[in-house]
């Protein structure tokens, strides 16, 4: 009788740690840390004698217990409630427009808006319009960073509706920008998926960005039972541009690929790369990077960055360990003390590239 193989702890633990490394630190968390450190430096130091430690904890516990019996509006210094959102941490220049019951319009300034029923918090960057839908929020226009409370058992996923679909949040923190004709989401941590009007699904991992409307590339996932839903009114500026059935027919024929010339500026290359990544077109991204890296007149820092981008795509998206290891070997040879030495070494370890030394 064969005894089942025991899983190897050290390998599994390293894999877990690599996942944490890949998460990075979300921008909103970094900002909070800076604010806390800055705030700390402004406060006078308070010292509690050790002997009072236990009494202090007990007093704190009693205080916290008393707070739990108050409704949110009664809490001292509690945020104000507007259109179902609790408004907190407002900048001095915050200006909220007169709203209907379910619409929050921020005309100027910044704040944190918390919708406790949906378990969604947002922080705006500039003017935004957000409506409360029955099963989530709708970002009508503007840019905001969203955080989502952990779902309770049987609670449906948090949903943010946008112009061409919805984002279902499976955990965590992301930034959405909604323009007049489309938008983009960038995932900072956790997992989300984007489902467009046709039921096509894209699942994002931390660091991924996605733009809508989606391209006509073949999709891996399609929603099995797309919800029937009356689409939100399309803003007037975009109405004339909605595709007719004839347009859609034409759009299904892929456009001839237009190669970004290798002589394009680094900024252009990176923009194109971001576009290809957001569409999941990783093979094209690899081709673009390889073409660009053949150019002789690249600045050293740019060459290193693009080489690193190529390696991460080969490692994480294309998942070709042979090609990735070969590339990382070349990268280390060209950039022995480079900016990404730690990340490259981690990738080589994860791929078990033979004979590799950072």
């Amino acid at each position: 009788m064969l005894t089942p193989e025991r899983p190897r702890f050290q390998d599994a633990l390293r894999q877990a740690d690599e996942r944490y490394a890949a998460r990075g630190i979300p921008a909103i968390v970094e900002r909070r840390i800076r604010e806390r450190l800055a705030d700390q430096s402004r406060r006078p130091r308070r010292w509690v004698p050790a002997g009072l430690g236990v009494a202090t904890v007990a007093a704190a516990a009693l205080f916290l217990l008393s707070l739990q019996s108050l409704s949110p509006e009664q809490l001292p210094g509690s945020p104000s409630i507007v259109a179902g959102f609790a408004i907190d941490d407002a900048s001095r220049d915050l200006r909220l427009a007169a709203t209907e019951d379910a619409t929050l319009v921020i005309e100027a300034g910044e704040c944190q808006a918390i919708h406790s029923e949906h378990g969604i918090q947002l922080r705006n960057s500039g003017p935004i319009t957000v409506t409360d839908e029955e099963d989530g929020l709708r970002l009508v226009r503007g840019r905001a960073t969203f955080a989502v409370d952990k779902r309770r058992p049987a609670q449906p996923p948090a949903r943010i509706w946008v112009s061409h679909g919805r984002i279902e949040v499976l955990g965590t923190e992301f930034t959405i920008e909604q323009g007049a004709q489309g938008g983009e989401v960038k995932l900072h941590e956790g997992a989300i998926r984007f489902i467009d009007e046709r039921g096509r699904i894209r699942t994002l991992e931390p660091g991924d960005a996605l733009r809508w409307p989606l391209s006509e590339e073949p999709q891996v996932e399609v929603e099995a039972t797309p919800e029937s839903r009356t689409p939100a009114p399309v803003p007037a500026s975009a109405r004339d541009k909605r595709p007719t059935s004839a347009d859609v027919q034409v759009a299904l024929v892929p456009e001839p690929a237009q190669e970004t010339p290798a002589s394009a500026t680094p900024a252009t290359i990176l923009q194109e790369l971001a576009k290809l990544r957001s569409r999941g077109e990783y093979t094209k991204a690899v081709e673009l990077l390889r073409r660009t890296l053949q150019a002789e007149d690249l600045a050293a820092a740019t060459r290193e960055q693009l080489s690193y981008e190529l390696g991460t795509i080969l490692t994480n998206q294309i998942r070709d360990p042979v090609a990735a290891c070969e590339h990382w070997r070349a990268h280390v040879h060209q950039h022995p003390s480079g900016r990404y030495a730690t990340e490259v070494a981690s990738a080589q370890r994860r791929l078990d590239c033979q004979g590799e030394k950072p």
């Binding site: 702890f9 998460r23 430096s41 704190a60 941590e189």
Partner: protein
């Protein structure tokens, strides 16, 4: 997490002071990753650790010598603060405060979300999290950061013999849960 420690170049403009901003820029992501590791994937836990580490740096910067290995110093401080925090959380008082504040940042579901498709990784991190605080941190330093027992002992102000015992105990616990462990 780098296996080698880093030297920071100090700004010539303030030769007697540590450049806090450059320290923060260079190392906060590394400390945050440590926080995720010890906090079971909790962003809030990691955020608190980063805050506490750099607060400590701000408070003691004047005592640090020029060309001090600041990366190593921050790593040591983070490791010690992590142990202290884990011990507080697991104390009776820590559990009472957790109960009363209804803190939702703890930790298994966060780990499940991050490692949704990597079940073994999730289980390994959970097994690490269940170790007593000192064993958790020591084993992490050994396996994940490739630190020698001597380095660990120095960082955590322990004897090498004690570090060796902690590693042995931790691996025995892990093995008893059905894992294959290689001695380290």
């Amino acid at each position: 997490m780098p296996t080698a420690t880093h030297m920071l170049e100090l700004e010539e403009a303030a030769p007697s002071e540590v450049s806090l901003e450059s320290c923060y820029a260079a190392h906060h992501a590394t400390i945050f990753r440590l926080g995720l590791r010890y906090g079971g994937g909790s962003s809030a836990w990691a955020e608190d650790l980063v805050h506490d580490v750099f607060l400590k740096l701000a408070e003691t910067a004047h005592e640090l010598h020029r060309h001090e290995d600041l990366g190593g110093w921050l790593y040591r401080v983070a490791s010690n603060l992590a142990i202290s925090r884990l011990r507080r959380e697991r104390s009776f008082v820590g559990r009472v405060v957790h109960l009363l504040t209804g803190d939702q940042s703890d930790v298994e579901p966060a780990t499940d979300v991050v490692f949704e498709r990597h079940e073994l990784a999730s289980r390994a991190m959970q097994a690490l999290r269940e170790l007593p605080p000192k064993e958790q941190v020591v084993l992490s330093m050994k396996i994940l950061d490739d630190k020698s027992q001597k380095d660990i002992a120095e960082a955590l102000s322990m004897s090498e013999g004690y570090v060796s015992k902690l590693v042995t105990r931790a691996l025995a616990r892990i093995e008893s849960q059905g894992w294959e462990v290689t001695s380290c």
